[in-house]
Symmetry: C2
Subunit: 267 residues, 2 copies
Amino acid sequence: MKIGFVQFAPVFGEVASNLARAKTLLAGFDGDIVVLPEFFNSGYLFVSKDEVERLAEEIPTGPTTTMLLEIARAQNIHIVAGLPERAGERFFNSAVVVSPQGLLGTYRKSHLFFEEKLFFTHGDTGMKVFDIAGCKVGVMVCFDWFFPETMRVLALAGADLVCHCANLVLPFCQNAMVTRCLENGVFAITANRTGNDIRGAKRLDFTGASQITGPRGEILYRATAERDEVFSVEVDIHRSRDKQLNPFNDLFADRRVDCYGAITTAL
Amino acid sequence: MKIGFVQFAPVFGEVASNLARAKTLLAGFDGDIVVLPEFFNSGYLFVSKDEVERLAEEIPTGPTTTMLLEIARAQNIHIVAGLPERAGERFFNSAVVVSPQGLLGTYRKSHLFFEEKLFFTHGDTGMKVFDIAGCKVGVMVCFDWFFPETMRVLALAGADLVCHCANLVLPFCQNAMVTRCLENGVFAITANRTGNDIRGAKRLDFTGASQITGPRGEILYRATAERDEVFSVEVDIHRSRDKQLNPFNDLFADRRVDCYGAITTAL
């Protein structure tokens, strides 16, 4: 199985040109599963609810999901991509999972970052795992990485691969994914954006360096911080099924569930 | 508050000389809380149950805890240190927490590594947090770090500082502690040993690089891989009480406990 990502710099609010750029880059993707950044169609730095209402889209009828479905069918690939979702009166920071046969489903970001809380509702889907050609694919969006519970829950649900749509502004995630993949014995694709969003006095710079990480903490590839990139790598995805770190230690069987109660107890 | 560690290379089975070396190094410690490596008194690489029976000690009556209690009183310091513990017919990979006033308690390693499983019983204490002069101190031993639940449970129990007695042979822990401290907003002291244990055909090389990590993922100090070191650093230990990453995100309040059920459900 070949897995990869598209990294580029969406321009805030310019959906048509962002979709066109993504389509051009995706045309160069050679593989089975490709991840795009969080909010790849809209840009990230919303400063008003009006903007969210204007740029959020229904899934699967909006132009972004419609385009992804066409590309997935035409190129016979699976795409995981982030976009602002409209669902009735509510808005979510979501990621769609699209196959050549149609929409597999939507994940809504569980852990909202910073001012996203002003405009979006906390995800109500829980952690979700999708089946793609025998590969179990978990999805998370950006700041979800910060909480070790996210990837732990996905891994315990059988994820072989975590597709991580990101717009990272802090410097920690790429190195942390080594630990996340190691502790869970899974692959991960972090698709990050580059460039910046400047909205009046507000500015965010994104760190690029999209990364594919292996189940023993191997960095299989780390992109540049600046450039548009389309990358894929062949992996034996079922290496994730072997949780045996050595003849005596199994990552899951060794968990001391009897000691972890505080983790699921509200403070 | 000044926190630190002692890093050195115990010689397997040579308890008297290991204790003497530790005592000499501790005499140079300038601070409040100091951490020593896992099994600092005995060495690590047990190859028979007979050896465990010979080298394990009762707590607090054995020579190792007795010496630590004397040093803690004489130098007016707190010591967290790892040793093989005898408790009736059972043996644990334990860490003692010693104050100038006496023994504060014992933690027994929850997640045993590799052939430790042949000789030791899984810890039955759960994760423990001790109060040292208003600083809440969690304890873990070596491989416990691999499971994100360990430090999560300690942090949720109020730990400001995690004292981590280690004999690391894999290259991942020191970088992972950046993630562990960041995701939990706590300080950590990883006291690792150096050198090697060679027992017949078996050999382990330990990685040194003991590390003090801050609650925003700062590496406050990383030791050399090879040398004996005694180190301490002044920290504002209560920085750990601020779990606010930014005006919108609190590391604990943002946890989606409603989504984490699988973590405390046995597979």
